[in-house]
């Protein structure tokens, strides 16, 4: 099937393959200014703890080069900038200009401009040389990429041999009761909070729907294996509501 006829999901909707990117961009442009506040509210602050756990598994050392993909407002990039030190380098990358603008300002405010770079990129075709990063992270971003397989292959390409990819993403709760409670919470509360804080309920309806359309833990692990990652594994967090996948390039 040609790309013109292909369809993909945007939340529960089926949309032409090429349209998803623009629709996702619309969502993030709408919420960029209050993205962090909304994250704190809907996750009840837990996203910060989950990101800390991601950093701990990233194995960053002084001198490393790190790509924080879909890095948005720069939460991870700021931490990485401090861990890689003067001799390292961090690239904060996102496809969305509005998110990047917020991220760039935060990097400057945090005193991290000396070893960071901001780049507007498409995760499916990363504009970086082969074997150029020790670590690639993507936190709550893979779900929004149209061609996830292409993105995983692209991430593998830019990783140095021995480098690692960390994917922090919403996933599938392992307990049915937890899944029910989580469904009720996310579909009932998130759009209302979105309406209240950023005057945009639809973006948070999309967020809740897109999570359900995202591959579960084992499927994503299989996709990483297929892309060529080695020693892939995942860690369930908050009972599987979020999972951290990790894979290495050898």
């Amino acid at each position: 099937m040609s790309d013109d006829n292909k369809v993909t999901h945007f939340g529960y909707q089926q949309v032409p393959w090429q349209e998803k990117q623009q629709k996702v961009a619309g969502v993030f442009r709408s919420v960029a200014g209050k993205y962090d506040v909304m994250n704190d509210l809907i996750s009840m602050g837990s996203h910060r703890i989950l990101k800390r756990m991601t950093i701990e598994l990233a194995g960053i050392r002084p001198g490393h080069r790190v790509l924080d993909l879909a890095g948005g407002t720069g939460d991870l990039a700021i931490k990485f900038s401090r861990l890689v030190g003067e001799t390292g380098h961090v690239v904060l990358a996102d496809i969305n200009d509005a998110m990047l603008e917020v991220g760039r300002d935060r990097l400057i405010d945090a005193g991290c401009s000396h070893n960071t770079q901001v780049a507007q990129v498409n995760g499916e075709c990363l504009p970086f040389e082969d074997n150029s990063f020790h670590c690639v992270t993507i936190a709550f971003g893979l779900r929004n990429i149209t061609d996830k397989d292409a993105a995983l292959r692209s991430m593998l390409r830019v990783l140095k041999p021995g480098g690692r990819l960390l994917v922090l993403e919403f996933s599938t709760p392992v307990n049915k009761q937890l899944a029910k409670a989580y469904d009720a919470y996310s579909f009932a509360v998130w759009p209302r909070l979105g309406k209240l804080i950023v005057n945009d309920a639809q973006s948070y309806q999309y967020l809740a729907e897109s999570i359900r359309m995202h591959p579960d833990q084992d499927t994503l692990k299989g996709m990483m294996d297929d892309a060529g990652f080695a020693r892939t594994e995942y860690f369930n967090m908050l009972g599987g509501i979020v999972a951290l996948h990790r894979g290495f390039k050898f």
């Binding site: 703890i49 701990e56 598994l57 002084p62 401090r82 594994e233 860690f235 369930n236």
Partner: protein
């Protein structure tokens, strides 16, 4: 870090606890700009603190606006301290030490000067537990908890000091497990005296042997 360690799932509770401690330290630093400035000089330095029982490692990265705490790090720390929790607390928080009881051996590797400077800063820093708890508990309860926490730390410090004294006295004087300085001195004197007696005896034996050999030849 071994591959086995790297495959261990990070714990949500321990990460939350560490984040809370980090927040407490950074809040205290924000209310004490002089200490914060002195700490900022060491931005980029990594300190590893490892307790032997339970086996827990904490890595403290000094950054320009405070510290960041992690459970694991692949970087080589500038200074690493390792010991049991009581001995580490005695070292880092300046508790009263008593060799063999509290403040026992702590393994330090790396930049000792850096450790000393950070110890001094840590002792001068007053953490406002009330400010941290206020958003959760409200100001009234937070204030009470802050007072309670200060009393608890004061009590812990005094108790540790008393414990060091009492256990030290017991171990040193009553149980006889550890000799006092005087006992060691007297023992040393006895050994010296014995050594000299043995030397004298050896000399006398040599002299007698020489005399006996002389009479035999005669």
């Amino acid at each position: 870090m071994s591959l086995k360690d790297q495959s261990r799932s990070p714990g949500l509770l321990s990460t939350t606890a560490l984040a809370t401690v980090e927040r407490a330290i950074n809040t205290a630093l924000r209310s004490d700009p002089a200490t914060a400035d002195r700490l900022a000089v060491h931005a980029g330095r990594l300190v590893a603190i490892e307790t032997t029982l339970p086996p827990v490692a904490i890595y403290a990265l000094v950054v320009e606006d405070g510290v960041e705490l992690y459970h694991r790090s692949d970087a080589t720390p500038d200074v690493a301290v390792k010991g049991n929790p009581v001995d580490l607390a005695a070292l880092l928080l300046d508790w009263k030490s008593r060799p063999g009881v509290i403040g026992g051996p702590v393994d330090i590797t790396g930049n000792r000067e850096l450790l000393q400077e950070l110890q001094t800063l840590a002792r001068e820093l007053h953490i406002d537990w009330g400010a941290i708890l206020e958003p959760i508990t409200g100001s009234e309860l937070a204030q009470q908890l802050d007072v309670g926490a200060r009393r608890l730390f004061h009590w812990a410090r005094q108790t540790a000091g008393r414990l060091a004294d009492q256990l030290g006295d017991y171990v040193g004087n009553e149980s006889g497990l550890i000799p006092s300085r005087r006992d060691v001195y007297e023992f040393g004197q006895d050994v010296d005296e014995l050594r000299m007696d043995v030397d004298r005896l050896a000399a006398r034996v040599q002299r007698l042997q020489a005399r006996r050999n002389g009479s035999t030849t005669d």
